[in-house]
């Protein structure tokens, strides 16, 4: 697989939010997503990378091309060893935030992407995986 379609960004500071946006934008554009889908994907990356930085201070964002039958998509994984989410259902409610955000990050990202899964254990960390499929 081409190097461009798989990679990772280590998040250790606020500056990496900008870097994550740039890298994800390049990957989504290279895969053939249109400008509106690229914006949806990059905005999601921005929200979820900022969550890593704000709640866990550090973590990793992985991106890769995914294939299912003849479908092609982009998968982003946001992984941290932060405090974890005690109540995922509550975290998915619009307007709910334990931080200083607007409470749009998780529910908004779910709307912008085609698929989203969250795994989280309190005291262990959180992994959020999102996918967007190319429209044919």
């Amino acid at each position: 697989m081409n190097e461009l379609y798989q990679g990772e960004i280590r998040i250790t500071s606020e500056n990496e939010i900008v870097i994550a946006r740039k890298v994800v934008r390049d990957a989504a554009t290279a895969l053939g997503f249109g400008i509106t889908d690229v914006t949806r994907i990059v905005t999601t990356a921005s929200e979820l990378t900022r969550n890593i930085y704000h709640y866990a201070k550090s973590g990793v964002v992985y991106w890769r091309e995914v294939n299912h039958g003849t479908d092609t998509g982009l998968e982003l994984t946001f992984e941290d060893q932060g405090p974890g989410i005690p109540d995922i259902d509550k975290a998915m409610e619009v307007g709910f935030s334990t931080g200083k955000g607007m409470g749009l990050g998780l529910p908004g990202s779910k709307r912008l992407m085609d698929e989203m899964t969250i795994e989280s254990k309190v005291g262990i960390g959180t992994t959020v995986i999102v996918r967007k499929w190319l429209k044919k």
């Binding site: 914006t39 949806r40 905005t43 921005s46 749009l104």
Partner: protein, 125 residues
């Protein structure tokens, strides 16, 4: 990097504030400070926030803009958000962002016309 700075230009009694394409959180936070400081220093009646090159409007950016609009209003000024790209508008809406009563315009020219009309009393908002 010059392109990653916020530019503030005084145009008669108004300010034209231009946001770079992909500002970091620190730059976005400094936007608020720069705008309020420039409003006071120039005795400005209002400002146009030009976001026509902005590629990503996430919830942090949106909250800072909304707060800035509110602060400018408390100082007696009006803000017009100008030039949001179509793809950014689609994404911002689906993300769940709302702009309340913030004035918007398709581009900077129209935003300046709006503010000038308001200050001359030809139009009330």
């Amino acid at each position: 990097m010059a392109s990653e700075r916020i530019s503030v230009i005084k145009l008669h009694e108004l300010l034209l504030v231009t946001v770079p394409p992909d500002p970091g959180d620190e730059l976005i936070s400094s936007l608020q400070e720069q705008v309020l400081e420039a409003m006071a220093r120039h005795d400005a009646k209002g400002l146009v926030l030009d976001i026509s090159t902005v590629q990503t409007l996430d919830s942090f950016f949106a909250r800072t803009v909304a707060e800035t609009v509110q602060m400018v209003a408390l100082m007696g000024g009006r803000t017009v958000l100008a030039g949001m790209r179509a793809n950014v508008a689609v994404t911002a809406t689906q993300l769940g962002l709302t702009i309340g009563k913030t004035l918007t315009a398709l581009n900077v020219d129209q935003a300046l016309d709006m503010l000038n009309a308001m200050s001359s009393g030809a139009c009330r908002v």
